[in-house]
């Protein structure tokens, strides 16, 4: 589950504006719009809500669901060269509706959706993290998504499905000296998260999303760093989610997506309340090597923070964890590949590749994964600053 996008859905409206005004010479007047305010200011009225399980059909559901306010295509992965040089990558596309109403326009530029994309490469050996982001209207062919043939793109960043069912998927993006061209196969069957794909985020009816994942996609292709091209192979994780939800009382979340050496995949998210405690709607899924999934409740996973890291911008993030499952039979220690995998303005958060080492009973377990930390970027426990602050 990528609750991040929930936040983004609200702030991107401001953030979208921010790309415009951020670089003007004075600090934006609405720099400190709180998330809650941003979300509250944006009505959910008029949009479809995720209230009941649905039947997923592919490749149709790879395509956009414009009746819902937000939607994302989220890819992360750990890959390595044959010599073992490790890279992590993130390529994410968000669709954000600006209005629930259909607007008839003569101009092809008329838009009711905005697309935002984040792209980052973690170059572990060089110790360098390269994030970038883009915005574009979902019009004039600049950005968009379609089911058949499957394609989601923002300018020259894209994911394209080759076959009938949208697989394999080819990911291409380049910015600031980093580039990826990766091909992802399904690997395991699709996992419908939550209740047959209906993932509830709170007690309120409709505070839920439709959510499915490919948790272990065999990946191969190239990563280019400053003109040097590396042939790489590894595994990716794809999350797809769409909804019209608010954030509730939570101030942020920690999200874990781990691929273990024994073939199991673990997804778990902890929603954090203002007092730092975990929200009861936290949860996850444990996917067996054969693809069968087992839902996890908020109490099924224990998380100990072993270390913290302070970003250059002064934000303190948790930096190492121990996850405990099945009555502590399965213990996993997570270590970031790089300390600094923080994405910058207008939305500051940490999303990075981690190394997994632990034990299942007496059996050693290793693995790779991605962790996302949102809501740490201000000192107070008050609602997060979602919109950009003055630099």
């Amino acid at each position: 589950m990528r609750v991040l996008a929930l936040l983004l859905a609200g702030v991107a409206l401001a953030a979208g504006g921010a790309v415009w005004w951020l670089r003007s010479d004075s600090p934006p007047p609405s720099a400190n719009i709180a998330v809650a305010e941003a979300l509250g200011g944006e009505t959910t009225a008029g949009y479809a809500r995720a209230t009941a399980p649905r039947t997923f059909v592919f490749p149709r559901d790879h395509g956009p669901h414009p009746a819902y306010r937000t939607e994302w295509w989220y890819y992360t992965g750990n890959v390595a060269t044959p010599e073992g040089r490790h890279f992590g990558y993130q390529l994410t596309f968000f669709r954000i509706a600006l209005t629930p109403e259909a607007v008839v326009r003569a101009s092809r530029w008329g838009a009711t959706h905005v697309y935002m994309a984040h792209f980052a490469v973690t170059d572990t050996r060089a110790g360098r993290f390269r994030p970038s982001q883009r915005f574009a209207r979902g019009a004039a062919g600049l950005a968009g998504a379609q089911a058949s043939p499957f394609r989601v793109w923002l300018e020259d960043w894209s994911v394209e499905g080759a076959g009938e069912n949208g697989l394999p998927m080819r990911l291409r993006a380049a910015d600031g000296g980093a580039a990826i061209d990766l091909t992802l196969d399904a690997g395991k069957p699709v996992v419908l998260q939550g209740d047959h794909g209906l993932s509830r985020k709170g007690a309120e009816d409709g505070n839920a999303s439709y959510y499915y994942s490919f948790t272990r996609m065999p990946t191969r292709g190239t990563i280019e760093i400053d003109g040097r091209r590396f042939a790489v192979a590894g595994a990716s994780w794809m999350d797809r989610e769409w909804s019209t939800s608010g954030l509730g009382d939570n101030v942020g979340w920690d999200w874990f997506a781990l691929q273990l050496g024994d073939g199991r995949d673990l997804m778990f998210y902890r929603l954090r309340r203002a007092d730092g405690s975990a929200d009861e709607w936290s949860g996850g899924t444990l996917v067996a090597a054969d693809g069968s999934a087992r839902p996890l409740g908020s109490r099924d996973v224990g998380i100990d923070v072993l270390d913290t890291w302070v970003s250059p911008a002064g934000t303190r993030y948790p930096a190492r964890w121990r996850l405990r499952l099945d009555g502590a039979r399965l213990q996993l220690d997570l270590t970031p590949r790089l300390s600094d995998q923080e994405l910058g303005e207008p939305l500051r958060y940490w999303e990075g590749a981690v190394r997994v080492e632990g034990t299942d009973g007496a059996v050693p377990v290793t693995g790779d994964g991605y962790v996302e930390l949102v809501g740490y970027a201000t000192s107070s426990r008050a609602p997060r600053t979602g919109a950009p602050g003055p630099r």
């Binding site: 401001a14 504006g17 790309v19 003007s24 609405s30 941003a38 200011g41 607007v103 300018e155």
Partner: protein, 855 residues
């Protein structure tokens, strides 16, 4: 030799001489002050207008290094998608823009700028959008059709609030916009640039301007270096025919170039006013030195060194200069406020949309004016100061010696004058000499003319005595004779007056020549009886289009025998955008062309064969002649056109390329019409036809239907508006000249009080004295006025045939209006008589002992 007099005594002597002649000093101060004021005002107005222009251009062009431009119909929008999606070319930003007007705000020029906010940050600082409710300016702008943002100051000024509607006129259509919020500029500077901006989403701009599928341009930032060429080549490869990448610098430079000629011209005219002012200083200082010859003689005899005398006189000049300059700066700022509007309007009429709401008083312009005023005054006083030092104690007694010397020097000075004029002529004729050479030549000419004044005065006065003396009798002869007899004092004053009056004559003739040329050109070129056009905001940029259905309806109206159809557009070319006119007309439509080069008889055939004719300024700017080729970017790619003829045209200073509509239609996809020229059927009254056409067009139609005569009047009104600044400058020069006459003659006359007293002692009645004195001033006025005529005509020749030609490329026919010449003489004599009245009255009433006390 060192002085035993304390410097304070010298200072007191100096102060006394200044306070003894408050009128003279006051008028000198006023003269310099006015000169400084004019220079400063023009400088400030120019700087403000230029900055506004540059700022606006910067705001609109942003930080682009290159621009993708197309023909009249713009750039296909898919080019942008290909750049971003297929090539990943960024930073790049699409723009859809046009100047529009709003019927509710007549005279306010708006610039509708449609952008993609997501592509903007690297290019433009568009400030912070604020909408009521605060949160989602972007969402509103993107999703609500016809929504615009206006700058906060503009909103206040026009009393528009968020939520209000604003009706704009686009071509013939009215479109209703909704102001959804305000832009808060980051600083004062961008606030100015935002003055006329209607900022909107690109989708809205396309819809409002009926530019579906097209963009006005695409801005690019291509980092310099080795990769730049490769990037540009990659971009070039995907561009369709007729669309090209050009350097943003070249584009901006072309515009800068256009307005520069205008601004340089104004600055030069303003300098003319200062030159006149400096002549006045020179005159005043020379005069005060001549007057105090005896004092200087005594001082020198008492052992005061030459250096001290020199410094004394220069110090006086410095004091006058400082006071006058300070006064001039204050006056200049006030004047600048008025001038800036005129300058901005002229630039608007001629070149582009700028909005200037306030005068920017730049420290640079102030410093220039102060330096010019003070340094100019001191420099003008150097010669008189030197003269004061050479005054030997004995020479003071032999005044007749000085006068004789002055008269003997006159021919030598005259010779020097002839040489200087000749040198000026040479400089003006220098091939390849630009504007600086033109002005150098002009000032050499004026200096030469000044040097010629004494000898000319002697000859002229001899003539006057021969002719008028006999008729008027003794006092008149005496009055005329006195002018020559006191040549040492009168020559400088006369030179100053002559130059001052000549300046007004020269500018007057130049304006009149220009106007007459335009009048004749309009008469010749406006051949049709009725003209139909779309109301265009900017008079010289008729890019608005006519509704095709309406055009057809008007052409087929009863009483219309024939119609010319004209399309005016701006098309890109390797040398910058070109104003192109496509003409669809029969033989009558070509009758209006007066050719500077080329064969009028084959004109139509040449055009039909694909050649073009170019206007004179265009040929001048691009160094073209018959047989040359012009390269234009058509919708089918770049194309060379042979130049069949060069025609006279005063409608556009940047110049025009004209081709036949058939050729245009083959090479461009644009099918619009800009204006119609309708010929009345035989026997049809034109005014009645205009009325019936207006009725046929309908009350709502936003179209201008004007008779030939009305259009001519309207065109001349625009002309007069563009020359308003020049006319103001001429009036200012006239005032300076008037002050010059007044100050010079007042001083002269008062200086002669002793002489008058002797005359009174010899039995002259007060009335006779009065007549003698005013007679003398009148003669001087007459001499200056008469001498100003040839000098003024010479000046006009330079202005018309060299300076205007070089700055605009226009050939003007010299028109010397008797009115201007008569005005000059009247001005000169009038001021002279006025100058004589008060002193003459004073002198004639002076008691004998009192007057003789000077002895």
């Amino acid at each position: 030799m060192t002085s035993f007099l304390r410097p304070s005594i010298l200072r007191r002597a100096s102060l006394r001489s200044l306070t003894l002649h408050p009128w003279q000093v006051g008028l000198s101060v006023l003269g310099i002050a006015l000169g400084v004021a004019v220079v400063l005002a023009v400088d400030l107005a120019n700087t403000t207008a230029r900055d506004a222009f540059a700022l606006f251009a910067d705001t609109i062009a942003g930080r682009a290094t290159h621009v993708i431009v197309g023909g009249p119909s713009g750039v296909p929008e898919d080019v942008y998608r290909r750049l971003r999606v297929e090539l990943g070319v960024r930073p790049s930003a699409p723009v859809v823009e046009r100047d529009v007007s709003a019927p509710a705000y007549p005279g306010v020029a708006f610039h509708l700028l449609g952008v993609d906010p997501f592509a903007e940050p690297p290019f433009r600082s568009l400030g912070n959008p604020e909408t009521p409710g605060g949160l989602r300016p972007l969402a509103i702008l993107l999703t609500r059709p016809n929504s615009v943002l206006v700058a906060r100051d503009t909103a206040r000024r026009l009393r528009i609030a968020a939520g209000d509607d604003l009706v704009i006129r686009v071509g013939i259509a009215h479109r209703r916009l909704t102001v959804v919020g305000e832009l808060t500029p980051a600083d004062e500077l961008s606030a100015q640039a935002f003055e006329s901006l209607l900022l909107t989403d690109i989708a809205t701009a396309q819809e409002l301007l009926s530019m579906g599928g097209r963009l006005s341009r695409i801005d690019l930032i291509v980092a310099p270096g080795a990769a730049a060429r490769e990037t540009l080549a990659r971009i070039g490869a995907v561009l369709p025919a007729g669309v090209d990448v050009v350097s943003a610098r070249a584009r901006a430079d072309a515009v800068e170039q256009l307005t520069r000629a205008f601004r340089v011209n104004l600055s030069a005219l303003s300098l003319l006013a200062l030159v006149v002012g400096l002549f006045l200083v020179y005159n005043a200082m020379t005069f005060s030195v001549v007057q105090r010859r005896e004092l200087f003689g005594v001082l020198r005899a008492l052992g005061v060194g030459r250096r001290e005398v020199f410094i004394l006189v220069l110090g006086e000049a410095l004091a006058i200069g400082i006071v006058a300059t300070l006064l001039g700066v204050g006056l200049g700022i006030v004047l600048g406020h008025g001038l800036v509007r005129l300058v901005a309007r002229t630039i608007n009429d001629l070149y582009a949309t700028i909005t200037v709401s306030s005068l920017a008083v730049s420290p640079g312009a102030l410093a220039r004016a102060v330096a010019l005023g003070i340094a100019g005054t001191v420099v003008a006083a150097i010669a008189p100061a030197l003269e004061a030092t050479v005054t030997s104690p004995r020479a003071v007694l032999a005044r007749s010696v000085i006068e004789r010397r002055a008269r003997r020097a006159a021919p030598r000075l005259g010779l020097l004058g002839v040489v200087t004029v000749g040198a000026g002529w040479g400089i003006l004729r220098m091939p390849g000499g630009g504007m600086p050479a033109a002005y150098a030549g002009l000032f050499a000419f004026l200096l030469g003319a000044a040097l010629l004044t004494p000898v000319a005065t002697i000859l002229l006065v001899a003539g006057i005595r021969a002719v008028a003396g006999r008729a008027l009798g003794m006092p008149a002869r005496m009055a005329a004779g006195a002018v020559v007899q006191t040549l040492s004092r009168t020559s400088v004053a006369l030179a100053a007056l002559t130059i001052a009056v000549a300046a007004t004559v020269g500018i007057g003739i130049m304006i009149q020549s220009f106007r007459e040329t335009v009048v004749r050109w309009l008469e010749a070129s406006l051949q049709a009886d009725v003209y139909v056009s779309s109301p265009s905001l900017v008079s010289n940029r008729p890019d608005a289009t006519l509704d095709p259905a309406l055009a057809a309806r008007l052409v087929s109206a009863p009483g219309v025998a024939h119609a010319n159809r004209l399309r005016a557009v701006r098309v890109p070319s390797p040398g910058g955008a070109v104003q192109l006119v496509a003409l669809d007309a029969d033989a009558r439509g070509y009758r209006g062309f007066r050719l500077k080069a080329g064969n009028a008889n084959t004109l139509r055939d040449d055009l039909a064969a694909g050649a073009v004719v170019v206007s004179e300024p265009f040929a001048y700017r691009r160094h073209l002649d018959v047989g040359s080729r012009v390269r234009l970017r058509t919708d089918r790619g770049e194309h060379d056109f042979a130049v069949a003829a060069v025609y006279y045209d005063y409608g556009s200073s940047e110049g025009t390329v004209l081709m036949s509509r058939a050729v245009y239609d083959r090479l461009w996809d644009d099918r619009e019409i800009s204006s119609l020229g309708l010929y009345a059927a035989p026997g049809v009254d034109v005014e009645a036809l205009v009325a019936s056409l207006r009725a046929r067009a309908g009350a709502d139609a936003d179209v201008l239907i004007r008779s030939n005569r009305a259009l001519r009047t309207a065109s001349l009104a625009v002309f007069d508006r563009t020359f308003a600044v020049t006319i103001v400058l001429r009036h200012l020069a006239t005032i300076v000249a008037f002050l010059g006459v007044l100050s010079a003659l007042t001083a002269l006359v008062l200086e002669r009080s002793r002489e008058v007293a002797i005359l009174r002692a010899q039995g002259f009645t007060p009335r006779e004295v009065w007549r003698l004195v005013t007679g003398q001033t009148a003669v001087m006025g007459l001499v200056a006025g008469v001498l100003a005529i040839p000098v003024g005509i010479g000046l006009a020749l330079v202005l018309v045939f060299v300076i205007n030609q070089r700055s605009f490329g226009w050939t003007l026919e010299l028109e010397v209006p008797a009115r201007v010449l008569a005005q000059a003489v009247l001005l000169s004599v009038g001021a002279a008589v006025l100058a004589g009245l008060y002193p003459a009255r004073r002198l004639s009433r002076l008691g004998l002992p009192e007057a003789l006390r000077g002895e």
